[in-house]
């Protein structure tokens, strides 16, 4: 579904991404991991068509470089790390923005657009608060609102930049479970940056470890979450433990004091 071939992005003279090549089959979840500044956000923004790049990015067989914003938005829904929430906009109005790419230039939302949004709002359990202003909503509620907006785009590819960074541990789990359910229900292809390596290993089908803009490792979680691979990028204290339930847990040990 997504194919990246030697994708390189430069900010002036700084190289943010350096020849990244990867494939994501339809319906799979690719987790992007790596230390701060490794290029996770840049890779997501380039894949969303929001950054110019060298190399080629194909989504659903189409090279995204030549697509108009409207075509792109019907193919790819992108949720940035810190979305902007206009404080006085209602949740329902915000979800309707997801239909932008489906509405003709001089037209307004059709009955179909509103129906799609109503279903998404229902699915995300937002109906009771659909008429509320965004400034009155909690972090977890806003997380669902922005996901609802992305689903309203009805795009087969969902790109998420740190979708859980603002949530507590329980809500993180809930949010990722929800994304996984939606992925299965709708056959979405998901690429997400995830800071928490343990959660990344639990949810993603495959992990891509980025370091200084390059692919340091790419494979199933058990192949990427290894002490030796992670230590070079996250510090020597990183240990991968196998829990009694069969999950991989990544912890960081304190430095020993003299």
């Amino acid at each position: 579904m997504i194919s990246l071939a030697r994708v390189t992005v430069r900010y002036g003279s700084a190289v943010a991404l350096d020849g990244v090549t990867a494939q994501v089959p339809a319906g799979q979840w690719l987790g992007l991991i790596g230390p701060n500044g490794a290029g996770k956000t840049t890779l997501l923004r380039a894949t969303a068509g929001l950054l110019g790049c060298e190399g080629q990015i194909r989504v659903g067989g189409k090279a995204i470089g030549g697509l108009a914003p409207r075509r792109l938005a019907r193919l790819i829904a992108y949720v940035p790390q810190r979305p902007q929430f206009p404080p006085d906009m209602t949740a329902a109005e915000y979800v309707l923005l997801g239909r932008t790419a489906h509405i003709g230039y001089f037209r307004v939302e059709s009955a179909t657009d509103r129906q799609v949004c109503a279903e998404v709002i229902d699915r995300m359990a937002l109906a009771p608060m659909a008429g509320r202003a965004l400034r009155t909503m909690s972090g977890g509620e806003l997380q669902r609102v922005v996901l609802a907006r992305a689903l309203a785009q009805e795009a087969p590819v969902l790109l998420l930049d740190e979708p859980t960074s603002a949530l507590d541990l329980g809500r993180r789990m809930d949010a990722l479970e929800l994304i996984d359910e939606l992925r299965r229900e709708r056959g979405l292809t998901v690429v997400s940056a995830i800071h928490d390596l343990t959660l990344a290993g639990q949810f993603a089908d495959r992990l891509l470890l980025l370091a200084a803009g390059r692919v340091a490792a790419l494979g199933i979680p058990a192949a990427v979450l290894r002490d030796d691979l992670l230590a070079g990028h996250f510090g020597d204290g990183v240990r991968v433990l196998l829990t009694g339930d069969g999950d991989l847990a990544v912890i960081s040990r304190r430095r020993e004091r003299p």
Binding site: I76, P87, E181
Partner: protein, 374 residues
């Protein structure tokens, strides 16, 4: 959270999903438009009735009806008819058109630059219009040339700003900026400040070199509607129509822009094209207003904010209601301008600021008490 969502999905699977009761709707301006129209009609009626020769409303209505082709038999004194048709009505209509363009242009600039301090003169329209008019006045050109010169100056200044600002934007990632984003708004705004400063400097220099025409230049710059005629109205009607239709057609996309340029682009908006289209439309309207009324300040910034605070921030509401509200506001300000010191006229810009600012602060304070300003 997910648990609740799951339960909903499960129950939806069992029973055929009933149509959800609350279908999401975009904000609609219905009631606010009706209120604004009532205020506008009242303001225009007052504008035609009030003046040195006070006319009663029935007289005015008779004078208006008498011009209709199938008019009922009414007897209107010729003088009253002339006052209504030749003096007051063109002035009221022109004031309404100018006010709607300034307020609509201000709202559009605020939306497209996502900056609450944006006003219609942001990109240099006032400085350019002022320079154009000053050149005609100091060169002793015919007064008939004034509107064209001011219009050309305003359009030229905004074009210059846009070309400079769009090319001076910071370099993005190599391979060009995102397809939907284009240059940076900050560089366009900064170019606007530079262009305005430069043109104002030239205008001031010309003005000081030709002190004999100082009075004429000063009167034009203060702005006003005292010379309004039907020819002014017909002169700007095409630009007003294009501007109003084009801005209203973009009200939905201006709402999408409220989430920021990058997110709007990812939702499918061609941001660079949207910005250029809205700026062209707003500038045509503002330049037309400047051409026939000089530089009337403050309308373009306070009217959209008053509407935003009272009727809501959605551009679907804000654009049409600002246009109507701006029209009403300027007609009312003009009534004050020609009555408070009658028979002399106070510059209308003095009225818009002196009356508008306290009213604006009042609305701001009463709203702030209840909610945060977005």
């Amino acid at each position: 959270m997910a648990a609740a969502a799951r339960t909903d999905a499960a129950s939806a699977d069992q029973a055929p999903a009933p149509a959800p009761e609350l279908t999401p709707r975009p904000a609609r301006p219905g009631r606010a438009i009706v209120v604004a129209l009532v205020v506008l009609i009242a303001a225009m009626a007052a504008g035609v009735c009030v003046g040195p020769a006070s006319l009663s409303l029935p007289t005015v209505l008779d004078a208006l009806l008498a011009r209709l082709p199938w008019h009922p038999a009414v007897a209107v004194p010729p003088l009253d008819s002339a006052i209504v048709w030749q003096i007051r009505l063109p002035r009221v209509v022109l004031g309404a058109l100018v006010g709607s363009m300034l307020a609509g242009g201000g709202a559009a600039y605020q939306g497209v630059f996502r900056n609450p301090l944006a006003d219609p003169y942001l990109l240099g329209a006032a400085a350019g219009g002022g320079l154009g008019a000053t050149i005609v006045i100091v060169a002793g050109g015919s007064p008939g040339l004034l509107p064209a010169a001011a219009f050309a100056g305003a359009l030229g200044a905004v074009t210059l700003t846009y070309l400079l600002g769009a090319s001076a934007g910071p370099a993005g990632a190599r391979g060009g900026a995102a397809p939907g984003v284009g240059g940076s708004t900050a560089s366009i705004l900064l170019a606007g400040i530079a262009v305005a400063a430069m043109l104002t400097a030239i205008q001031t220099y010309l003005q000081q070199e030709h002190t004999s025409t100082l009075q004429g230049v000063y009167a034009w710059i203060l702005g006003g509607l005292s010379l309004a005629s039907w020819s002014d109205v017909t002169l700007i009607i095409p630009y007003v129509a294009v501007c109003a239709v084009a801005l209203l057609a973009h009200r939905r996309l201006l709402d999408v822009l409220r989430v920021g340029e990058a997110e709007a682009a990812s939702l499918g908006v061609h941001v660079g094209r949207l910005r250029l289209t809205v700026v062209i439309a707003a500038t045509l309207g503002v330049a037309a207003a400047v051409a026939v009324s000089g530089l009337i300040g403050f309308v373009g910034i306070i009217v959209p904010h008053i509407i935003r605070l009272t009727a809501g921030p959605s551009y679907r509401v804000l654009l049409p209601v600002s246009m109507i509200g701006g029209a009403a506001f300027l007609v009312l300000a003009d009534i004050a301008a020609r009555t408070v010191q009658a028979p002399a006229e106070v510059p209308i810009g003095v009225i818009t600021a002196a009356v508008g600012a306290p009213f604006f602060l009042f609305v701001l304070r009463s709203r702030r008490a209840r909610q945060d300003l977005s």
